[in-house]
Amino acid sequence: MDRQILVLILGTALVTYLPRMLPLVVLSRARLPEVFLRWLGFIPAAVLAALLAPGLLLPQGKLALTGNPYLLAAIPAGLVAVKTRSMALTIVSGMAAMVLFQYWL
């Protein structure tokens, strides 16, 4: 194996593992203040929105408000999500909408 690539694999793996592991292992032994717990309660919704929004609005890294299949496909997927609360139906309808919009645009 290429020595450079070996260092790259081990180095990137280590610096990725530490932030994944340390809070869970270290904070599990501490008493967490109430305000921190409330803050954590907002994290899932906030991080999902922060991950999703650029994927829909900046598909190529630039703001695309028209002719953007990601943004258009999010409309039927969002409606199905709110109506059915089903992950499978949301993903299938989103992917189907994506195929259609990519074909038309």
């Binding site: 790259l8 994290i43 991080v47």
Partner: protein
């Protein structure tokens, strides 16, 4: 023969919850297969052997981090700079890991250290949603993690083997599998107006920061900022 009965009950529970985790991972697999495949193709083009391509998926196991690592490597960027960039890109896992603490703190640190190795955006979102209405179970969580990770490794292997033979998976809409999953998970998180406001702020911040400052900082900054504003607002209005 009491002990034997107990053992078999434990085993049944294990396979029940492991299967539950496996099922919960299937939507993630749908998104990981094309993405991991694309990574495999890219890694081979960047000069990685098949073996190295797969090992990065086993040990690093972070989609955006892997894409960035192999593309920087093929551009001849210094190793230390690549490692530091991947560190920054993956720093958001701190938040996921901390968010699991209230749910998983009763388990042994050594087990948690193992479980934490396979936290991703997608497995975090699925598990934290599940724990809103279910008791945390290690077999569920490991079933979810191992299924998602295996599909990622398998997809990288196939991508590394096939090269650019199959063409663009976007033709089949696979490029929308993960955004659609984020949509449904976000919808399930929006239980009150406060959370809706925090999510809206995070979306706006994330896009704005990504536009002025490329390099994946937007996710962690927007999340921290929006959640902090949410807490401040809560304290301000005096509601618990």
């Amino acid at each position: 023969m009491q002990p034997q009965v107990e053992v078999s009950t434990v085993e049944e529970n294990f396979s029940f919850y492991f299967t539950q985790g496996f099922r919960a991972a299937l939507p993630i697999v749908l998104g990981y297969l094309p993405l991991g495949f694309a990574y495999g193709v890219l890694a081979r083009e960047a000069g990685f052997s098949l073996w190295e391509t797969v090992l990065l998926s086993v040990f690093l196991y972070a989609g955006s981090g892997q894409f960035i690592a192999v593309s920087l490597f093929s551009n001849g960027v210094a190793l230390a700079a690549i490692i530091f960039t991947v560190f920054l890109v993956n720093l958001r896992h701190l938040l996921f890991s901390a968010s699991f603490v209230p749910h998983l703190r009763r388990f042994k640190p050594a087990v948690l250290a193992l479980l934490a190795a396979e936290i991703t955006d997608e497995t975090f979102a699925v598990a934290i949603n599940h724990y809103a209405g279910h008791e945390p179970r290690l077999p569920y969580h490991f079933g979810l993690h191992l299924t998602a990770h295996s599909s990622w490794v398998l997809a990288s292997l196939l991508g590394g083997l096939a090269g650019n033979l199959i063409g663009d998976p976007a033709r089949f809409g696979f490029n929308f599998a993960l955004p659609a999953m984020f949509i449904i998970l976000l919808v399930m998180q929006l239980k009150d107006k406060k959370t809706l406001l925090v999510a809206g702020l995070a979306a706006v911040f994330s896009v704005a920061i990504a536009l002025v400052w490329p390099g994946n900082w937007n996710i962690i900054l927007a999340t921290v900022l929006a959640a902090t504003l949410g807490v401040i607002l809560e304290l301000w209005t005096g509601k618990s």
